[in-house]
């Protein structure tokens, strides 16, 4: 009787094909962090591999290792959280490539690689203005020298340069791109042979060809999650692949009581702001309790009917998100892991 998150792998494959066609000749790095944005990493990675995706992005080593377990040895897996020696070792043992945006972390990676007698594949991160991780431009030359020493010693090989952009404005992003180009040029001038440059995520990879470089890191659009305040799914050529449903428990007067609540990850502040799909059409989501919610009833509403909270042909996760000033990704990743995923 509980809620369910249905995952349409056909739609996922079509979204992946749309993204790849759009960004070619750049390659898609499918971002699978946080259980593939709540969709279930196992089914997603398996299908992506079958569709020919060869790059995967996992924030932490745990997700990277989980990806490797499904992908097999050929996929290239990129992980970019700065971690301690144990996790660096786990990453290197599974042939995970590491994003390095901190000089201290660079030394740690080289030390662990030396201890295990392997060569760590490293992507150096330049901070182009987001000011999260990443090496500040003024520190970049010194870090390149350090990286070169580690590379000459056979501990690391710098295969990539990457960054994140802020998407505050096209002007800001253009400035970030100029800084990125300068960083890549400096790395090449220092003697590195940079195989992969990656800067763009979903939105920029679609809208701005000059941001694509060799690889684009895309999660949201592959899962059919459009950007809040951005182009529609139709304009992008993508479809939501996740549908969140819940069953009607009982009907009281004009209220249908459905088996999903805020403890399942449905933000309580959506109540009164959105409509959900019912057998009688779209109806107001009137109240969200801890484990049950109230939907305006429809003619013939009965226990056992299915209500669709978000998905295709009803409100998308981003539609819901926009009513509470957030993004569709947050709606997806809040869905409780106790809500069963049903792959179709």
């Amino acid at each position: 009787m509980s809620a369910r998150l249905r995952i349409d792998l056909e739609a996922f494959a079509q979204n992946v094909a749309t993204v790849r066609a759009r960004v070619a000749p750049a390659e898609l790095m499918l971002v699978v962090k946080d259980d593939a944005y709540g969709h279930g990493i196992q089914a997603i990675v398996a299908r992506a591999v079958a569709e020919g995706v060869c790059w995967f992005g996992a924030f932490d080593v745990r997700a990277a290792v989980a990806t490797r377990a499904v992908s097999g040895p050929r996929a290239r897996i990129f992980s970019w959280l700065t971690v301690g020696a144990d996790e660096i070792a786990a990453a290197l043992d599974d042939d995970i490539e590491l994003g390095v945006g901190d000089a201290g972390f660079l030394d740690d990676v080289a030390a662990v690689a030396a201890a295990r007698d392997v060569v760590a594949r490293v992507h150096l991160k330049i901070d182009t203005g987001l000011h999260r991780n990443g090496i500040r431009p003024e520190d970049w030359p010194a870090v390149l020298l350090r990286a070169l020493a580690h590379q000459d010693a056979g501990r690391i090989v710098v295969v990539g340069v990457w960054s994140h952009i802020a998407e505050a404005s096209d002007h800001d992003d253009d400035r970030a791109r100029a800084q990125f180009d300068a960083a890549v040029n400096a790395a090449e001038a220092a003697g590195f042979s940079i195989e992969v440059r990656h800067l763009a995520a979903s939105a920029a990879s679609f809208a701005r060809p000059e941001f694509r470089y060799d690889v684009v890191r895309v999660g949201a659009f592959c899962y059919g999650i459009r950007s809040a305040g951005g182009s529609s799914e139709r304009e992008l050529g993508i479809r939501p692949i996740a549908t969140l449903t819940a069953q009607v428990l009982e009907v009281r007067d004009d209220d249908a009581v459905v088996a999903i609540g805020s403890l399942d990850g449905l933000p309580s502040i959506l109540a009164g702001r959105v409509s959900v799909g019912t057998p009688g059409g779209m109806r107001e989501l009137r109240a969200i309790g801890l484990i049950e919610s109230i939907v305006e009833a429809w003619p013939g509403a009965a226990a056992g009917d299915e209500v669709t909270v978000f998905g295709r042909d009803v409100s998308s996760a981003t539609d819901l998100a926009e009513t509470i000033e957030t993004v569709g990704e947050e709606i997806l990743v809040r869905v409780s892991p106790t809500v069963p995923r049903e792959v179709v």
Binding site: K33, T82, H131, N133, R136, G265, I269
Partner: protein
């Protein structure tokens, strides 16, 4: 015991509750199955009155919070006057400062709306979350405090330990304490301590 005992872990909560003298625990069928080896099945009930869960989990401000949420400092960097932070540059530094990248983002229940509205505790001192909270990380302005890579960061917990109270998150998000703690407990790695 719904939603894995509001994100606290049904096995831990059910066992502790029975140890502490509860007559039984309330669980649905799936929840009951998960408890069969930690609680006498006769004490797992499908219906009945319960204790006030807000009080049991310490969410109402009158009892001790059971859950505290923590991240750690990934890296530190200089942020100069006028420079923006995180997506959309919703925060810009008004003075030269130092910012810490901290693990914990909206995929771990650190609600996106907390950016520029909430603060965290590092080594007993409060520091604001600046800019948008991202999916896995957020940025904290640590000013001239001495903070190092690896330091623990408290998002919420028992205010007597210096951690922010969950009530601060209620005001910032409009969410309930139950759904806030459940989302963190269900998505983050859980540890149990004394």
């Amino acid at each position: 015991m719904r939603a894995d005992a509001w994100g606290h872990g049904a096995r831990f909560v059910a066992h502790s509750a029975i140890e502490a003298g509860a007559a039984g625990v309330l669980a649905d069928r799936a929840g009951a199955a998960a408890l069969s080896d930690v609680v006498d099945p006769r004490r797992v009930l499908g219906a009945g009155d319960t204790l006030d869960a807000d009080a049991v989990f310490g969410l109402s401000g009158t009892t001790t919070p059971v859950m505290s949420a923590h991240g750690w400092v990934v890296s530190l960097k200089a942020l100069r006057t006028g420079e923006g932070v995180s997506y959309g540059y919703t925060h810009r530094a008004t003075r030269d400062t130092t910012v810490a990248l901290v693990t914990g983002g909206y995929a771990q229940g650190i609600v996106r709306a907390l950016g520029n509205t909430a603060s965290v505790t590092i080594a007993g001192r409060r520091h604001p979350i600046v800019g948008r909270v991202a999916m896995d990380v957020c940025v904290v302005d640590v000013g001239d405090s001495v903070v190092a890579r690896g330091d623990e960061v408290a998002f919420f917990g028992d205010p007597r330990t210096g951690a922010p109270a969950i009530e601060e998150w209620l005001r910032a998000t409009g969410f309930s304490a139950a759904e806030l703690t459940a989302a963190v407990g269900l998505h983050a790695a859980r540890e149990y301590g004394p």
